[in-house]
């Protein structure tokens, strides 16, 4: 079965792909430097801090001496990343070889940040104005964010469970759904394999996927992607739950905020004279989730050794996700009970979900009571899921050609040796002189046999 993996293209790859001038422009904003620093692999972060106050270039050899032999591969990854993002610039000198230097704008911004701290371009609004509307505590803001995000996801997969529609325009929705849903004529849209894999990713990865689609689409709407990226990264440094005035934003940023409110990233409110926005937890998590580290949220699934699943959740989205690979038996006010069966798993495998994805979903969302146990999902369950998956992979197919009726044994032996040399021999039968050879070797085989005849 073809294993299609959703290309969880990193947001930082998109930033790194920006043209050099735009990237240098981005680095003039201190918060972007900070966000990008946080997204680097740990060794790269260390190198940046160590080189922070060094004005001259440091030779590659000296930097390699900092690392133990075990860490050389990580060292290469870190240096490549730094060069890709233009944080390190390379210089070649005949006497001392290649050397690296920190990007000067990046360097001075970080130095200022370390000594003077960062100041946001806008201050939170005084509570005298915001208190006129019902006050939003942290929990209420978080609940709002979750609700909006779930609504959006349910609408994304065109589920009939979505209770209310968000304000996103149908064209925007179609852009997000591109790659996740397919529509055949006269049939309701179905989730593709990538769509299923998308649902099983954790919230931060999903969020970045949507934002990446949004930004790549921005060029068509005449919005500069670098501006959007810088605004989003800046937003992630605002304090959750604090109100910020809308009049500090440009027109483009205000439009962006309206779209983000539909996703649950900010909450818009209108006072008597002014309007303001309140960033939610999803926004502040944007800069946390730039690296590949796992998200740190509460799990809700308990998997037992008798293949039953108990999910302590009220969310319809969770129910839909569990329905993808298990048979939901009943739903109680705070509990979803299901069972992993062979049929439900075969259903999932038909839809393109792999056993690894299911297992990692169960492990990452394990309820705190079982999360401390090693392993968090019982081994017999994980082993059985993998075995059922390999059941469907019993037959391996390779395109090949079949050769028969060789004139003499010598020709047959020569052909066998020839095929073996090229690594294309799949099967031979010496008694009846039959041969099966891979398709890519077929043409060479024909040439060889023709030469033999002459």
């Amino acid at each position: 079965m073809p294993q299609v993996k959703i290309i969880a293209r990193n947001f930082m790859d998109m930033v790194a792909a920006l043209p050099a001038m735009k990237l240098d422009q981005l680095y003039q904003n201190a918060f972007i430097c900070e966000a990008i620093l946080r997204s680097l692999p740990p060794l790269a972060k260390k190198y940046v801090i160590q080189m922070l106050y060094i004005e001259e270039a440091v030779t590659t050899k000296s930097i390699e001496e900092w690392v133990l032999p075990d860490g050389l591969s990580k060292h290469k990854v870190a240096i490549d990343r730094l060069l890709q993002l233009r944080i390190f610039s390379e210089a070649f000198d005949r006497s001392s070889g290649t050397s690296y230097r920190l990007n000067p704008t990046f360097q001075s911004n970080l130095q200022k940040h370390i000594t003077c701290g960062g100041v946001l371009p806008r201050e939170p609004m005084p509570s005298s104005i915001t208190a006129r509307l019902p006050s939003l505590e942290d929990l209420a803001v978080f609940a709002f964010a979750l609700e909006q995000w779930e609504c959006f996801l349910l609408q994304l997969i065109n589920s009939t469970q979505a209770e209310k529609m968000t304000n996103i325009s149908p064209s925007m929705m179609r852009i997000f759904q591109r790659g996740l849903l397919t529509q055949r004529d006269k049939e309701p849209p179905r989730l593709t394999e990538s769509g299923f894999q998308f649902l099983l990713m954790d919230t931060n990865a999903q969020l970045w996927y949507i934002i990446r689609e949004y930004i790549s689409n921005s060029e068509e709407r005449d919005v500069d992607s670098a501006d959007l990226i810088s605004f989003l990264l800046e937003l992630s440094f605002h304090a959750t739950g604090e109100a910020y005035n809308m009049n500090t934003l440009t027109e483009v940023q205000r439009n962006t905020l309206k779209d983000l409110a539909d996703l649950g990233l900010v909450k818009l409110q209108q006072g008597r004279k002014e309007s303001w926005f309140i960033p939610t937890k999803l926004t502040t998590n944007l800069s946390v989730s730039l690296t590949d580290s796992s998200s740190r949220k509460e799990g809700f699934v308990v998997v037992e050794t008798n293949f039953r699943i108990y999910a302590y959740s009220t969310s319809k989205l969770h129910c839909e996700i569990l329905r993808l690979f298990s048979r939901i038996e009943y739903q109680l006010p705070n509990l979803i009970v299901g069972a992993i069966t062979k049929e439900s798993l075969y259903n999932a495998f038909d839809n393109g979900i792999t056993a690894d994805q299911i297992i990692s979903f169960l492990q990452q969302n394990a309820h705190p009571r079982v999360a401390e146990r090693v392993p968090s999902v019982p081994e017999n369950v994980t082993d059985q899921i993998r075995l059922w998956e390999s059941d469907l992979n019993r037959v391996e197919m390779t395109p090949a050609h079949f050769y028969d009726e060789f004139p003499t044994r010598d020709v047959f032996e020569a052909a066998c040796d020839f095929a073996r040399e090229y690594g294309g021999l799949l099967w031979e039968d010496s008694k009846k002189m039959r041969l099966v050879v891979k398709t890519d070797v077929h043409m060479h085989m024909r040439e060889h046999l023709r030469r033999q005849r002459q």
Partner: protein
């Protein structure tokens, strides 16, 4: 003594507990002024907070008579906005530090005798370990803790027992104790602490570059320590102090029940109460030698 067992760390989120030496007797005589030192430390702390949103920092000031928390990055009060010239961390930290020094001074009863004016390292180590234990119990996803001692005062031998207890407790919880020693001579206690718990001990040679030493060596999170070259310990002074007079000794008497160390013979162990037998003097061993000579 074996050094700490190694642990696998999945990510680089760290909790850094800094024990800052605020002993007025040491700083008045130090070549590096305290204000310069604090500016290096504050830049270093800001750089640690910069690297990861989930990093946490706790600063405990070690005074001559008392120790106290002066900064905790995870407490809600610490999110006050900085002014344009100073970061939020500096504002909070310097305010609390001033209050602390005032309190420490009030507790001073008399001038310390002799030249040793040590700071209360055992107290601050214990406070740090208690905080870390609370973090361990806060749930499965907690930052990885380590302790950094920024110390300069000389060792006070009367604190030997308490410090060794704290060191073994840190070894058990797998919390490395790093030490950056800015005083004149090496500190035996801190060398032992770093050796036993698997941390790094460094005595910087150029105090003007303290920030660079801090960020290069002590800023390494526990995950990256497996890949980077860090200073290895050159020689550790393993001498103990006796339990009765708190003097540093090489040879002494040890209770076979609780392993307490004494410099002179006592009738009873002061820690566990077991009774000791007669001391083996030179005169008592002579009859044995005569008997052996008689046999052959």
């Amino acid at each position: 003594m074996a050094s700490a067992p190694s642990k696998l760390y999945a990510d680089d989120v760290s909790l850094l507990v800094v024990l800052l030496d605020a002993n007025p007797f040491f700083w008045s005589a130090s070549s590096l002024p305290f204000s310069k030192f604090i500016s290096h430390v504050i830049s270093f702390l800001n750089s640690v907070l910069l690297l990861n949103q989930l990093n946490q920092i706790v600063v405990i000031a070690t005074g001559h008579n008392c120790c106290d928390y002066v900064y905790d990055s995870s407490s809600p009060a610490s999110r006050s906005a900085g002014t344009g010239k100073l970061s939020a961390l500096s504002v909070d930290l310097l305010e609390k530090l001033e209050e602390f020094v005032g309190r420490d001074e009030k507790l001073l009863k008399k001038e310390p005798e002799g030249s040793i004016a040590s700071s209360l390292l055992s107290g601050s180590l214990s406070m740090a370990l208690c905080y870390i234990q609370r973090v361990f119990r806060s749930g499965p996803r907690h930052p990885h803790p380590r302790i950094l001692c920024l110390h300069g005062s000389q060792d006070g031998p009367e604190q030997y027992v308490a410090i060794m207890n704290a060191i073994f407790s840190a070894q058990r919880s797998m919390v490395p104790i790093d030490s950056c020693f800015i005083g004149a001579q090496n500190s035996a206690f801190l060398q032992q602490a770093s050796y036993i718990t698997g941390g790094v001990y460094l005595k910087p040679q150029l105090l003007e570059g303290t920030f660079q030493y801090l960020s290069t060596v002590f800023g390494t999170d526990l995950h990256s320590r497996g890949f980077l070259q860090l200073p290895k310990s050159v020689g550790v002074d393993f001498r103990a102090s006796c339990f009765c007079h708190k003097k540093t000794i090489d040879m002494g008497y040890i209770c076979s029940v609780c392993l307490s160390i004494f410099c002179k013979h006592h009738k009873k162990c002061s820690t566990c109460g077991s009774v000791f037998g007669q001391p083996h003097s030179e005169a008592a061993s002579e009859p044995n030698k005569k008997r052996k000579a008689g046999d052959t």
